[in-house]
Symmetry: C2
Subunit: 226 residues, 2 copies
DNA sequence: CGCTTAATTGATCAGGGTCAATCGTGGTGG
DNA sequence: CCACCACGATTGACCCTGATCAATTAAGCG
């Protein structure tokens, strides 16, 4: 019903080597990574796969999601530059990850990181921090999914991206309406209708389908009930 | 609308001392804990509080939840014996915790644990493991909240508790219908109606309001679409 | 035994889903 | 350069699940 065809083109080409000039504080992981590029719409890994590596986003947008057996999809999060994803409990993936846009990632082998961690307690602490960040987000997302209306959900979504955007009043959406719907626990039609309603109310302006101008931040925050 | 009056009776009495004979593998935290008892319906901590301690459940049931400004509530999880909860990013609580029943908890001071962790990398690793468990659960919960029907939600809920129960076909519910509703993103009425429907269909038998006998596990699993 | 609070049940309503048609838009090829 | 195509997005009509409002019923508990 809500499932999405996976194009899965693109052989991901791996460039073994260091991380390059990415600004990322004093990070002891730097040595253990491999940079990989993925085209848009690629599956990075799927639920049940071996989880022997995890990733950090350098550029692009990644979605991590879970599926029900009949194809219903829930997107847990979108990850952008700087985010770490793909840490898992045990050996098997608890969710799947796909590229929303063309992406550059760093891939870390768990074995190597474990070895690093055994020597350097700060590495484990660093991972704990990212796990906690993901956890905090997931909890906020539960509240959104369980207790917010469609309009509230979309307002929260737009403000989340405004926070991540360089120009806070302009949001570039890397994802389709279907992605947004599956992130917010709605249908594509409801997302579209709510966008239109926001535009009619003068809260936003849609420039094409992928760019949103937030005209009344305060009003949006009010709708979002923050 | 869905908010719940907090009784908050019970002065929690603290017994400083070791953890006692609780079976809990080789856990280096043992030394750093303080045992505390809480009565039913107590607030353990609230969103925004200082998060200088975290807890482990020895007995009883704890709910952790988030609120919207208008009182709507989402319960993220119920914690039972063995679960660790109350680890937070930063200094402020991201959610609140309350006792569903009378509870015995162990309380760990973060400062002390940090000192332990600095010496013993296994402590941080242990905490990471619990964060990841919580994360895995939160993700599953997002899927449930965003993409499942009322009947599916309740079936999943019952099977979750069956898994945790000693006698897998008998589930004792420590919480009210309101708690269940706020956990599943439903209303109390829908929870009640769905229970009744399950009973009419012969899937369960309700003994009083707090005990559920699962008569047809296979059928329940089918409803839950697992 | 009566009081209070929780749970069930019924009637009605509405938010959002479903189904279907139409509109854009960007890419392709004549 | 433009016509056509394909796919994503929008819009409309209608429906259904679950929410709301309200009235009973059951269950603890002093």
């Amino acid at each position: 019903m809500t499932a999405q065809m996976m194009v899965n083109t693109a052989g991901a080409r791996a460039y073994t080597g260091s991380l390059g000039g990415m600004a990322e504080a004093a990070e002891p992981l730097r040595a253990a990574g491999t940079v990989i590029r993925f085209a848009q719409g690629c599956e990075i890994f799927a639920e049940g796969d071996d989880s022997d590596v995890f990733y950090k986003v350098l550029s692009g947008v990644v979605r991590v999601c879970k599926f029900l057996s009949d194809g219903r999809r829930q997107i847990e999060a979108f990850h952008i530059a700087g985010d770490i994803f793909g840490m898992d409990l045990g050996d098997a993936r608890g969710l799947s990850a796909e590229t929303v846009s063309e992406c550059t990632l760093v891939c870390y082998r768990r074995r190597q990181v474990d070895m690093l961690a055994a020597k350097d307690e700060a590495v484990t602490r660093h991972l704990l921090h990212f796990a906690m960040e993901n956890l905090a987000h997931a909890r906020g997302h539960c509240l959104l999914l369980g207790r917010r209306s469609a309009a509230e959900k979309l307002a929260v979504f737009l403000l989340e991206w405004a926070d991540r955007s360089t120009e806070p009043a302009i949001v570039h959406l890397a994802m389709t309406r279907q992605d947004i719907a599956d992130y917010l626990g709605l249908t594509i039609e409801t997302v579209s209708r709510t966008f239109s309603q926001f535009e009619r109310d003068g809260l936003i302006a849609l420039v094409g389908t992928r760019e949103v101008h937030l005209k009344k931040m305060a009003a949006l925050e009010h709708v979002a009930a923050r």
